[in-house]
C-alpha cells in the first residue's frame, strides 16, 4: 500500500500545486465576504457578478484578455529584473514612456501597416529600454541603488509626459478639451482577431513573449548570466561575467518589455491615443503579478490572467452588487498573501507536502548592495 502511495506522489504534487492556489483564492473570497457583509452588500451576488463580468459571455472574456495582456508583459519585465537581482520598480514610468513613443511614431510616420505596426511596437520597446537603462547605468557606474533611481525616474517620466499633453505641451491634440494626444493612424493600430470585437493581437504577442522570456532565462547563455548575477555577484565575477554590462542589459530588457506593454495598450485600445489617467497603476500591478507568479514566466501568465479577470469582472460587481472597486484590491492582497504563505492554507486545510526548497526564489538578493 505504501509503495502505491509513493508512486502516486508526483500526481499528488501536481494536484496539490493546483489545489493550494485554488484554496487560497477561496479563502480570500471568504474573508473578503465578511467585509462585504459588514458594509451591507451581498457577497454571493458580488462574486457571481465578478465571475460573470470576467467570463460570462464572449465580450466579457475578451475584456479579461485585454486586461491580462499588459499585465503579462509588465509582469515578465519585473520578473526578469528580479531574476537578475534587480528591483525594477520603474515599470510605471517605462510603460508610459513606451506609450508616448508609440504615439509619436504611430501618428507621424506614414507607412503601410506591415511596416508601421512593427516600427511602432519597436519604438515602445526602445523607449522603455532606454528609460530603464538609465537607472541600470547609474547602478553599474555609481553604485546608485536602483530602488531609488527607478522610483525617481517614475515620477520624472510621469510628470514630463503630463506636461507634454497639456495645452502648452508638444503632443497635445489641439481639437480637444481633454489632455490627450492625437489618435494613431489606422496603419499603426493592432489588427483585430475576431471581427466586430475589441480583441486585438496583443495577447498573442504577450504569450509568445512569455515563451521567449522563458527560453531566454533558462535556455540561453545570456539568461544564465543574468540569473547568476542575480544569485551571486561574486560567483558571477569569478566566472568572468561582465557584471556591469549585465546589469544595464537586464534593466534594458526589463524596461523594453514594459515599454512594449505601453505601446500595445495604445495601439490596441480605442481611441488609440494616450490621455491623462491612461493605464494608471500598472507598474504596481506588474510587481504584484510577478511575485504572485513566483517570477517564473509561466507563473506570470497565470497570475496575470487571475488579476486581469478580477479587474475585468469588477465592472459588473460594482454595477450589480454596488460593492466599491477597492474590494478587488483587498482580494488581490489576500490572494497574494495566501498563495505566497501557502503554509497558512495548508495549515487550515491540513494538506501535507514535502517542502520543495529548490523552487524557492529569493527576490531580495540584490538589496544590500550585491556582494555575497
Amino acid at each position: 500500500m505504501d509503495n502505491l502511495l509513493n508512486k502516486l506522489n508526483p500526481i499528488k504534487n501536481i494536484y496539490i500545486s493546483v489545489i493550494v492556489p485554488i484554496l487560497a483564492i477561496f479563502t480570500a473570497l471568504i474573508l473578503s465576504s465578511v467585509v462585504i457583509i459588514l458594509s451591507g452588500s451581498n457577497p454571493l451576488l458580488a462574486y457571481l457578478a465578478l465571475a460573470e463580468g470576467a467570463f460570462g459571455n464572449l465580450n466579457n472574456w475578451i475584456e479579461t484578455i485585454l486586461k491580462t495582456t499588459p499585465l503579462i508583459i509588465g509582469g515578465l519585465g519585473v520578473a526578469l529584473a528580479f531574476r537578475g537581482g534587480l528591483f525594477n520598480i520603474g515599470v510605471e514610468g517605462q510603460i508610459f514612456v513606451g506609450s508616448i513613443a508609440s504615439v509619436i511614431i504611430g501618428t507621424t510616420l506614414k507607412a503601410p501597416a506591415i511596416i508601421h505596426i512593427p516600427l511602432t511596437l519597436l519604438a515602445g520597446v526602445i523607449a522603455g529600454a532606454v528609460w530603464a537603462a538609465i537607472p541600470g547605468y547609474l547602478k553599474a557606474k555609481f553604485g546608485a541603488h536602483e530602488v531609488i533611481t527607478t522610483i525617481m525616474t517614475n515620477y520624472i517620466a510621469t510628470r514630463i509626459i503630463t506636461w507634454s499633453i497639456g495645452m502648452n505641451g508638444p503632443l497635445r491634440k489641439t481639437t480637444s478639451f481633454v489632455p490627450e494626444t492625437n489618435s494613431l493612424l489606422e496603419t499603426a493600430r493592432l489588427p483585430i482577431m475576431i471581427s466586430d470585437t475589441r480583441l486585438h493581437i496583443g495577447i498573442v504577442i504577450a504569450l509568445i513573449l512569455a515563451i521567449v522570456v522563458y527560453i531566454l532565462l533558462f535556455r540561453t547563455t545570456l539568461g544564465i548570466e543574468i540569473r547568476t548575477v542575480g544569485l551571486n555577484i561574486t560567483a558571477a565575477k569569478y566566472c568572468g561575467i561582465k557584471v556591469n554590462r549585465n546589469i544595464v542589459l537586464t534593466m534594458a530588457i526589463s524596461g523594453g518589455l514594459a515599454g512594449l506593454a505601453g505601446a500595445i495598450q495604445v495601439m490596441g485600445l480605442p481611441p488609440y491615443n494616450f490621455t491623462a489617467g491612461f493605464n494608471v497603476g500598472y507598474g504596481f500591478d506588474s510587481l504584484a503579478v510577478a511575485v504572485l507568479g513566483n517570477i517564473n514566466p509561466i507563473g506570470v501568465v497565470f497570475s496575470a490572467f487571475l488579476f486581469g479577470a478580477m479587474d475585468s469582472g469588477a465592472r459588473l460587481m460594482q454595477l450589480r452588487a454596488k460593492v466599491p472597486v477597492d474590494m478587488i484590491t483587498i482580494l488581490q492582497g489576500l490572494i497574494l498573501m495566501f498563495v505566497a504563505a501557502n503554509q497558512i492554507i495548508r495549515g487550515i486545510y491540513r494538506i501535507q507536502i514535502q517542502d520543495k526548497k529548490a523552487d524557492k526564489v529569493n527576490l531580495s538578493q540584490g538589496w544590500g548592495g550585491g556582494s555575497k
Partner: protein
Amino acid sequence: MKRNLTKLMVLLAILSILLTACQPKVSETEQPVQNETSTTKVEEKEECSYKIGYVSDVGKINDQSFNQASWTGVEEAAKLLGLGKECYSFIETTDSADYEINIRSFVDEGYNIIVTSGFAMGAITRQIAKENPELFFIGVGQEQVNENFEPDPYPNAVGLNFREDFGGFLVGALAGLMTETNVVGGVFGCQFIPPVARYEVGYYNGVKFVNPDAKVINVYHPGSIDVCFSDATFGSETAKALVSEGADVLYGAGGLTANGALITACNQGAYVLGTDMDQFVTLPEVKDCILSSALKDIQEGVVGVIGSIADGSFGGGDVYAPSSLAPFHNLDSAIPEDAKVLLEEIAEKLYSGEINPCTPFEGSNPNTFCVPIK
C-alpha cells in the same frame, strides 16, 4: 490523506450547492422577459421603469465634491421617481482606457439613463449615444460639440455644463472683499483639467476685480492625475506656506488635495472657500471658517434633467446650470452688507456678459476653454 480529501469534497459540495442556489439570479438577466410570478425578487426587478447608471471619472466617487455631487443627484432623482435601490448603480473608473467598456456595461445591462461624469468622457459618451438613440445620456461637464468645437446636439444626449469661471469669479470677489492682509491664496488640483483651470482663472480675476492691489497666490499640485486630486498632505503643507506668506483667505478647488488645504488654513486662522458642493456640509472641520463655496448645482442639474426625461420634456444639447455662492452659514454676520450687495451685482453682470470672468492674464493657465455668455 483520506481526511484531507473528505474535507475537500465537503467544501466543494458546499460551494456547488451555493452556486446552484443562485442560478435563478444569473439566468434572470439573460432572459429579460419573465411573465411568471415565481419569486417576488423577479417582480421587483421588473418594476424599474428607469434604470439609471452612473460612470465616474478617474478619481474617487466619494471625493466630497465633483463625483459625489453627481452621484447624489442620481440617488435623489431615483427617489423622486420612486425607483428602488436595484434600479440605479455606478461604476467607478480606475483607468481612462476603461471609459468605453464601463459605459457599454450599462447599455448591455439594460440601463436606459446613463450619466457620465467628467469632461474626458465627452467624446465616448456622444459616440455611444449616437449608437443607442433609444437610450438617454447625460454628460456632466461635457459640451455637445464636434471636433471643430461647433454645437452638434444629439436628441438623446444632454451636456450638463457649468461655468466654473463664474463660480471662481464670485468666490474670488468674496475673497478680495474679506481679506485684510490683501494677500489671498488658492490651492488647486491638476492644471490641465479645464474645470480646475476655469476656477483658478475666475478666482484670480474675481479678486482683482474688487481689490486690484491684492496679491493672489495660486498653487497647483505639480503631479499627474493619479495624485493631484488625492494628495491631502500636499494641500495642507501648501496651505501652511500660503498662510506664512500672509494669506488670510484661501480657496481650494482640487478634490481631496484642496480639502487638506482648507482644513489647515482654517486651523491657522484664515477664511476658506470651497468648491463644487457646499463644503460647509461635506467638510465639517471648516464650518467656522468657510465663507462660502463656488456651487455648481450638479445635484440639482442631474435631478432636473432626469426629471425632464420622466415627464417627457427632455431635449438634447447643452444645458448650462447656474453657478452661485453657497449660503454663508456661520459667517453670515461677518460679511458686511455692502459686500453681499456687490456680490449680487457682480453675479448679474456675469450673466449679462458685462464682466468676462475668464480674461487671461500674464502667465495664466491656457487650459480653461471658457464658454462665453451669448
